[in-house]
Each structure stands twice: as C-alpha cells, then as structure tokens.
C-alpha cells in the first residue's frame, strides 16, 4: 500500500513529468493560457495515460516478450490510436473544448510525456496496479503543473512585461522558477 502511495506521490510532485523531468513541455507552453482549458487538458492527459498504462502493460506482458525490439514503435501506434479515440470523443461531446485545445490534442500522440510514461513503466517493471497508480500520479502531476502555470499566466496577463520577454519568454521564466520551487520536493519519502 505504501509502495503504491509512494509511486503516486513520486510521479505527481517529486518526479513531476513537466517540472522535474521536463517532459510534455509543448502542451505546458501551449494550452496554459486559461485555467479552465488547462484543467481539461490535464483531464485528457490523465485519461490517455491511464489507457496507455493498461495498453503498455498488456503489450509488455503478452506481445513484446517475444519481440522487445518493437517496443517503441508499438507504444507509439497504441498511443496514437488512443489519442484518436480521445479526439473523437472530445469532438463529439464538447466542440468548444476541441477548438480550445486545437492542435495540442492530436499532438498528444507525439507528447514525450505519454511515451516517456510508457517507457518508464516498462523499465521499472511495474505491474498493472502499480502502472495505474503511476498513470494517475503522472496525470495529476501534469494537470497540477498546467493549472499552476495557467493561473500564474492569467495573473501576469496585465503585467507590463518588457518587450524582450513578452509571450513565451516570460512563460519559460515562470516555468523555470516553478521548477526551482519543485526541487524542494526532491527526496521526499525516500529516507
């Protein structure tokens, strides 16, 4: 039990995919303009991660035992089809959200956070339950980073940012400072 708890916390804050491992930076920069959008992007990420965890476990258990060299390509294929699924669902149920997320929804296919997650899960030899906790933790971590960034960006929208840093420049500085702050979680619950 404490092992599962540690996996969750570790993926969420200690080894936060965005702020500690610097994975999945494109949605982090791209859809962090509004808190509501960021929250839904986080939700989509959690959904894809959970499905990926199940699919990756299945692939590792039954198929890739015989053909480990197919690992990355099969992961990408599986993730791409999962993202297609999410895209269709989102397009059907919330056209507004579909437009807000824009290119970043299909781009989840090539999102390094998702592929990285599948590879981490394989390398650490997680079982199905551990993988699910890892997925939820990683997804919550991505959501946390996105939402924090979005709320800060909403606040700094009215700030008189110097010309040279306007736009993505100041976003990168905020991301760097957030990452510095998350260094405080290093080594949490390991001793």
């Amino acid at each position: 039990m404490s092992d599962l708890f540690w996996i969750l916390i570790s993926a969420m804050v200690v080894n936060n995919f965005t702020l500690a491992l610097f994975l999945g930076l494109c949605p982090f920069m791209g859809v962090s303009g509004r808190v509501a959008t960021a929250l839904r992007m986080g939700g989509a990420n959690i959904f894809v991660l959970v499905l990926t965890a199940i699919a990756a476990w299945f692939l590792n258990r039954f198929i890739l035992v015989d053909a480990p060299y197919l690992r990355i390509i099969s992961f990408i294929v599986v993730i791409a089809s999962l993202v297609q699924l999410v895209e269709m669902v989102v397009k059907k149920f919330s056209p507004t959200l579909f437009r807000e997320l824009g290119i970043f929804l299909p781009l989840m296919t090539t999102n390094c956070a998702i592929l990285g997650f599948a590879i981490f899960q394989t390398n650490r030899g997680y079982g199905l339950v551990q993988g699910l906790f890892f997925a939820i933790g990683a997804g919550l971590g991505l959501t946390l980073a996105l939402v924090l960034m979005a709320s800060i960006r909403e606040q700094t929208e009215l700030a008189i940012v110097p010309n040279l840093a306007r736009g993505l420049g100041v976003v990168l500085i905020i991301a760097g400072t957030l990452s510095l702050a998350f260094m405080g979680f290093a080594g949490l619950f390991t001793s």
């Binding site: 924090l148 709320s151 800060i152 909403e154 606040q155 700094t156 700030a159 008189i160 940012v161 110097p162 840093a165 420049g169 100041v170 500085i173 905020i174 760097g176 400072t177 957030l178 510095l180 702050a181 998350f182 260094m183 405080g184 979680f185 290093a186 080594g187 949490l188 619950f189 390991t190 001793s191």
Partner: protein
C-alpha cells in the same frame, strides 16, 4: 493638474467667492478622501531600517564576511534594477530590500561573486522580467536564493561557525568566478536542522533564540527577527496573519508528529526557532506583492507554507524547506485570491446564485 483634486468641485475659486467666507458651504471633492502618509517608498525604507538590527547581529555573529556577502547581494540587486528596470525605481528601496534579504539567507563564507550573481538573478528574473515592482509572481530574493541553491549547492551549504573575531574572514570570500576557492582555515558547522537530519543530534533552545548557531547570516537569531517583525506588524507594514498562521501551523503539525513519535521527530519549539522559518515567515512570506490580498487568503497562504515546511523537513531529502515552501505557495497565490474573492456588496452570494 495636481491641484485639481484639492479644489472643491462645484465651488467657485475663493477669490471670486460671492458669499461671505464664514458661510457654511457644501464641499464636493473627488475621491480619495482619506489620506495616509504611507507610500511605497515609506514602507520600503521602514522595512530596510527594521532589517538593520538583523544585519548588525549577523555581523556580530559572523564578522566582516557577513557584511561583505550582504553588500555583494545588495550590489547585484541595485545594479540590475538600475540597468534593466524602469527609470527611478531605485529610490523606492524595494531592490535594496531584495538584496538585503538575499544576503541574509546566504552563508558567510561564500565567494562574493555568487551573492552578486544571486542579486542579479533575483531582480532580473524575479522582478524586472514581470514588469517590475508589484507585478512579480515569486518573491525575488527567494528566486535568487533558489537559483544559487541549484547552481552552487556546495558553496551555499558550507556554514561557518559563529564567533571567532570580527575581522576574520569566514571563507574564501574573494575567490574569482569559476575558480575553485582556496580552502582557508575555517571552522564550519552544520546547521541545527542539518545536525538533526543527518546526525540525529538536537540543539538546545537558548542558542536558537539568541542565534549563535551555524547557519545563514540572518536565519540564526529568532528572537531579533521576531522583535523587528513585531515592529513592522505594529506599524501595519506586514500582515500579521501570515506569520502567525505559518508559525501556528508549523507548531501544531510538528507537535502532533512529536507526540506520535518523539524519538524520530523534533519537538515543535525546535522546529519553530531553527532554520530560516522565522526570517521566512516574517520577512519573505509577508511580501505584499506575492502574498494573497484577502484576509482569509492570508490564513490559507500561511497554513500552506507551514504544512509544506513540516512536510519537507520531516520527510524530504533536504534539511530545510522554508524557501521552497514559500515559493510553492507564491505559485498558489493566484488560486488563493480566486477562491477567497469577497462577495461584492449587494450581489447574491455564491451559494444563492447556484
């Protein structure tokens, strides 16, 4: 234009007044009606003055090196503010406070170019990049400190002992950038929190209160910081709710842990008076720009910092977490402000709107 607000609207200028000056008349003036002598400049310089006893104490404990480190941090902050910031912002004293606070959270033995660089990063990436005073998200001094912690983890955790002469250097203060510091004969000591974390040794309460323990310049004397902060709180230049909430949360949570397992977790008084908690709670967290605007928000903000401090100190890999706790809660401030937004008078409340 500046005299416009003093002229009663609707009243004719005095020299052309047709009526007797004694006649009571209705004066209609534009707001604001209640004036206060407080201004950004006055508040900032009062804070600077209130920091002076702490600076003096650090010089008493750590000698001339303390003054050098603080001066280097201040110089870095002021130069950056002057070069990159908007015009005439040096006078408001906010960059000076950033420099002083940054200097006070560094150890005395650092090569001077590091505090200088920290000051540059603090003002440049902590404040100017967001548009200057009043628009920054994170406390600038802590941004500088976090940068130095990440860049020079060894130099920033080499704590000299207090005492041993006013003019003795506490480290190779004059090492050149990117050169390895020649190791002078300096007695170093772990901080009380480091002793606890890595060697399971406690420290008595009295040295913690007075401040003659190992540690950063200004984080050692809890009593003096409380006195100086009390003065600011009395002048209402800092929101007393934030430090009270931080200290109460830390005390209650660490007290609970201590009662559960007294051998593993330190007692709450040690938690309160060790490390940077006092300086952080009184001077860093109460930064007007980076703390919540509402009263309820101030309580939540402080409670969050206290909880994070206990979390990082008790279970984290680092002995001290006040800096990270404050930075993390700084990031939460937009959220806290949103949650605690007061109801506009005359509008239906959140519940009745449904």
């Amino acid at each position: 234009m500046s005299t416009l607000s003093n002229v009663p609207i609707g009243a004719a200028p005095a020299h052309s007044a047709p009526f007797h000056p004694e006649t009571p008349r209705l004066e209609l003036t534009a707001s604001p009606h209640v004036h206060s002598a407080d201004s950004t400049m006055r508040i900032m310089w009062t804070v600077v003055i209130s920091l002076m006893p702490i600076v003096a104490a650090s010089v008493v404990f750590f000698g001339i090196s303390a003054l050098l480190v603080i001066a280097a941090a201040v110089a870095g902050a002021l130069v950056t503010e002057r070069v990159t910031g908007p015009r005439n912002t040096l006078r408001d004293g906010s960059a000076l406070i950033t420099g002083l606070l940054l200097g006070l959270v560094l150890p005395a033995g650092m090569p001077l170019w590091m505090p200088f660089l920290g000051g540059v990063v603090a003002i440049g990436f902590g404040k100017v990049i967001f548009g200057g005073l009043g628009q920054n998200v994170f406390n600038p001094a802590l941004v500088g400190r976090a940068f130095l912690q990440a860049a020079f983890p060894i130099a920033i955790t080499t704590w000299p002992t207090s005492g041993s002469g006013l003019f003795a250097l506490r480290g190779d203060n004059f090492a050149l950038p990117l050169m390895s510091a020649s190791a002078p004969d300096v007695v170093t000591a772990a901080t009380p929190l480091g002793l606890l974390k890595f060697e399971q040794t406690g420290t008595d309460l009295w040295p913690l209160l007075i401040g003659n323990t190992g540690g950063s310049l200004g984080e050692t004397s809890a009593l003096l910081i409380l006195l100086c902060g009390g003065y600011l709180a009395w002048k209402r230049y800092l929101d007393w709710r934030i430090p009270v909430s931080i200290l109460a949360t830390t005390g209650v949570l660490s007290g609970t842990l201590w009662m559960i397992d007294g051998a593993r977790y330190p007692d709450p008084l040690f938690m309160l008076f060790s490390g940077g908690l006092m300086l952080g709670a009184v001077y860093m967290a109460t930064d007007m720009v980076t703390s919540p605007v509402t009263r309820a928000g101030a309580w939540i903000f402080g409670a969050g910092i206290g909880a994070l401090v206990v979390l990082i100190r008790a279970w984290g890999g680092l002995p001290e977490g006040v800096m990270y706790a404050i930075l993390l809660m700084n990031a939460m401030v937009p959220f806290i402000n949103r949650w605690t937004r007061p109801r506009v008078f005359g509008t239906p409340g959140r519940r009745s709107r449904a």
